[in-house]
Amino acid sequence: MSFYEQSQRILSPVRAGYIALTFAVALLFNLLPWRDVVGLPDMVALVLTFWCVHEPRRTGIGIAWLMGLLMDAGNGALLGQHAFAYAVLAFAAISLHRRILWFSLWRQAAHVLVLLLASQFLMVAVRLVAGGVFPGYAYFVASVIAAALWPAATYVLLLPQRRPQGLDENRPI
């Protein structure tokens, strides 16, 4: 039996440009004019958690804070609300990244669910203190859906790193 729950594959190093591109696409997804869709997953939070778990030296709390600020301005939310929640989310993901990667994808998703729910709780708490209305429990469905997308996100976001760098007939792997 393998030490890991899944076989590990040696990945090529990630490019900083690719991380930036995934953040841009996630932000674009979040800014699409969704009408009153309940349980819309927060893609920026999912991508952020992914890169914090997989590349904790490339992404960190500063980038999380900056993405949160962009989300606040784009959404017309309280300035600093997403920045606060994302900074805490990034910190939790970085602290847990060695643990999370031991598990299979669906168990990783369970970890991510807890992290995303915690960040949503933070946002609700902040807004209730600042005088907002409680958006209803359906608000938290978004985290469940986002966590369910974790295996798919892992597959898609690691695609460029799985590609062989250059074909070589004599290379053993």
Binding site: A24, L27, L28, F29, N30, L31, L32, P33, W34, R35, D36, R57, G60, I61, G62, A64, W65, G68, L69, L70, D72, A73, G74, N75, G76, A77, L78, L79, G80, Q81, A83, F84, A87, V88, F91, I94, S95, V124, V126, R127, A130, G131, G132, V133, P135, Y139
Partner: protein, 308 residues
């Protein structure tokens, strides 16, 4: 002598330190934004950074709208045409009476020597999307300070008041709906002229007529219109309709209303500019001059019908 690790092991400050720094920065921003409204200029800058993303995100929706408009069937157009004709006939009747009433109103106003109501400037805008912030009720319009929108202006659609512009960006503006918890609108009951202030944020999408005595003369199905007292909203625009009244509470009645205008029905809205000239506040009449002014008023009342 101190021993430093080689530079390639250096990873900057510890995560906990970074977390502390960024969390305190975020908390500082939130306090500045919520309590003192100092963060607006920073918000403007960040919003400008996000603006290309917002426009790009809207592109597929606009494309879909354009194509579906192009393929509208002829039957649908003809039906709409017939409906519009019928509506115009109905409206023509009202329009004729309106002209007569307007003339009469103008004459009466001249008689009263009242200031003629200035028509307000208005800007046609389009709702881009509903605000994504689930904690407040807002919509975003496609016009901003470049097109002359200012914070505080009233926003209406063809049936009533939608809300008020609360934040203006360079090319976008945010409208807080009357149903938002933080939004208050001065209203008046049409039936008896009772003035009140209507609050948003009752049940989902409802309005509350708060601070009304338990025996206040309000009935179900009463229509509430803007009173026009604050100068922000023109008088007489429909705001809401009373739907339920509970009078068994201790001293205040709990009155729930349904908003008249719909934000999900129309995409086009009208942004009304604030009244340019507000009348000066009334001056206390001097005791000696009161008799004189009364005499003058009487004189005016006597002469003006002849002039008109």
């Amino acid at each position: 002598m101190d021993y430093q690790p080689p530079p390639f092991f250096s990873r900057g400050p510890a995560p906990l330190v970074r977390l502390g720094f960024f969390v305190s920065l975020a908390v500082l921003l939130m306090v500045l934004d919520a309590r003192f409204r100092y963060a607006e200029s920073l918000r403007q800058v960040v919003a400008l950074l996000v603006y290309p993303f917002q426009r790009t995100a809207l592109a597929p929706v606009e494309l879909f709208g354009a194509t579906s408009e192009f393929f509208t069937t002829r039957v649908a157009l003809m039906r709409e045409n017939d409906e519009l004709k019928a509506k115009r006939l109905l409206a023509a009747n009202d329009l004729l009476t309106l002209q007569a009433l307007r003339a009469e109103n103008a004459q009466l106003r001249r008689l009263l020597d009242a200031r003629e109501r200035l028509p307000r400037k208005s800007i046609l805008a389009e709702i881009l999307y509903q605000g994504r912030d689930p904690f407040s009720r807002k919509v975003v319009l496609d016009k901003g300070s470049q097109q002359g929108i200012q914070a505080g202006q009233a926003v209406i659609d063809d049936i009533g008041v939608i809300g008020q512009v609360t934040r203006v960006h360079l090319l976008l503006s945010e409208v807080t709906l009357v149903t938002d918890k933080e939004q208050r609108t001065p209203v008046q009951v049409v039936r008896n002229g009772l003035r009140a202030i209507i609050y948003g944020g009752g049940d989902r999408g409802m309005l509350d007529l708060s601070n009304m005595a338990a025996n206040a003369d309000v009935q179900a199905d009463d229509v509430l219109v803007t009173s026009g007292i604050d100068g922000t909203y023109p008088a007489g625009l429909p705001v809401a309709k009373v739907s339920r009244i509970e009078r068994d509470t201790a001293s205040f009645a709990k009155i729930t209303c349904v908003p008249t205008a719909g934000t999900d029905r129309n995409r086009q809205v009208l942004v009304l500019s604030r009244e340019a000239i507000l009348p000066p506040p009334p001056v206390e009449p001097e005791p000696g001059a009161s008799g004189l002014s009364k005499q003058k008023a009487r004189q005016k009342a006597r002469t003006s019908p002849g002039a008109g």
